[in-house]
Amino acid sequence: MLRGFSVFLLAIWLLMLGLAISSWPNSSPSPVPDLIAANLANSGVTHPVTAVLLNYRAYDTLLEIAVLLLALVGVWAAFYCAPCAKVPHPFPTLSPLLAPLLPLSIPLLVLTAGYLLWAGAHTSGGAFQAGALLGGAGVLLRLSGSVQVRQYTSWPVRMLSGIGLLVFAGVGVAVMLVQPTLLTYPPGLAKTLILLIEGTLTVSIGMTLALLFVATPGIVFVREPHV
């Protein structure tokens, strides 16, 4: 009976939402798309979505990478409990079946990530897409047994996870030395700063996504199978 009642309420909600969507005005009351297109030459990139992500709404992207790091910290906090640590991890050691796949696919993934990072300036792409590819490479390494888990967090893990947010926030504050607002790039330096931010962001996102998949405080790379 409760299920039928909620179906009824959701049907009414769907009707209201449908009416809301279908009553869009035909003419555009918002000057935002024209502003985006007009200032694209000064933004440092030529793709409007990348310009919005890394220049016009750079603050949103800064908070987004902070959310990613926060999820990682939450995952580490939920991991650290004594009964959990005693559960043996079911992942195999370096698998002889998947190991020959790694020299073929990992360099290709890294190369494609680099291409996506560079192509983000003029077409679809950018730091997050490249970071997702690097995260996928990390997942492949984990599933083949090349990445084993540790109960402690090592310095390279911390640095690689945090470098994106550090550089982004650092650039955002450093530009306040020449002008009063946060994350407003000086006119000639926009392209360089965006490239610097995107590069460190890619590394950080790849590491964070791989760590979110592994869900343990630390990882270590192994080269040969061990028992």
């Binding site: 769907l14 409990c81 009964p83 950018g126 997050f128 996102i205 996504l209 979110l212 998949f213």
Partner: protein, 105 residues
């Protein structure tokens, strides 16, 4: 305009279906999947809003969706780890129940 309207309505249908599943499914993994579908429905509505003037694309909702996808990934990862922690803390007993056919409402 009609295409944008169709995508928007589909997004809204996905939102309503996933809210229903979120409320009425007892299994934690199904709730997490319902949250993901809810996010995808909202992204569909945002993309439909971006395409409301058909040849000209508004890039701002596209950037919002890209941000939203990353945040949905983070939230799903955290939710999955919390679900696994709940499972281990209750020794697998009570916190990932299988769905009862018609008795839970």
């Amino acid at each position: 305009m009609i295409t944008a309207l169709l995508y928007g309505l589909t997004g809204m249908v996905l939102v309503c279906l996933s809210v229903f599943a979120l409320l009425h499914q007892a299994h934690l993994l199904r709730k997490i999947i319902a949250l993901n579908v809810l996010g995808s429905g909202v992204f569909m509505v945002l993309i439909a809003i971006a395409a409301r003037h058909a040849p000209a694309i508004d890039p701002l909702p596209h950037a919002l969706v890209l941000t939203g996808i990353v945040i949905a990934i983070s939230a799903t990862a955290l939710a999955l780890v919390l679900a696994r922690r709940i499972y281990r803390l209750t020794n697998g007993d009570t916190c990932l129940p299988e769905e009862q056919p018609s008795s839970r409402s």
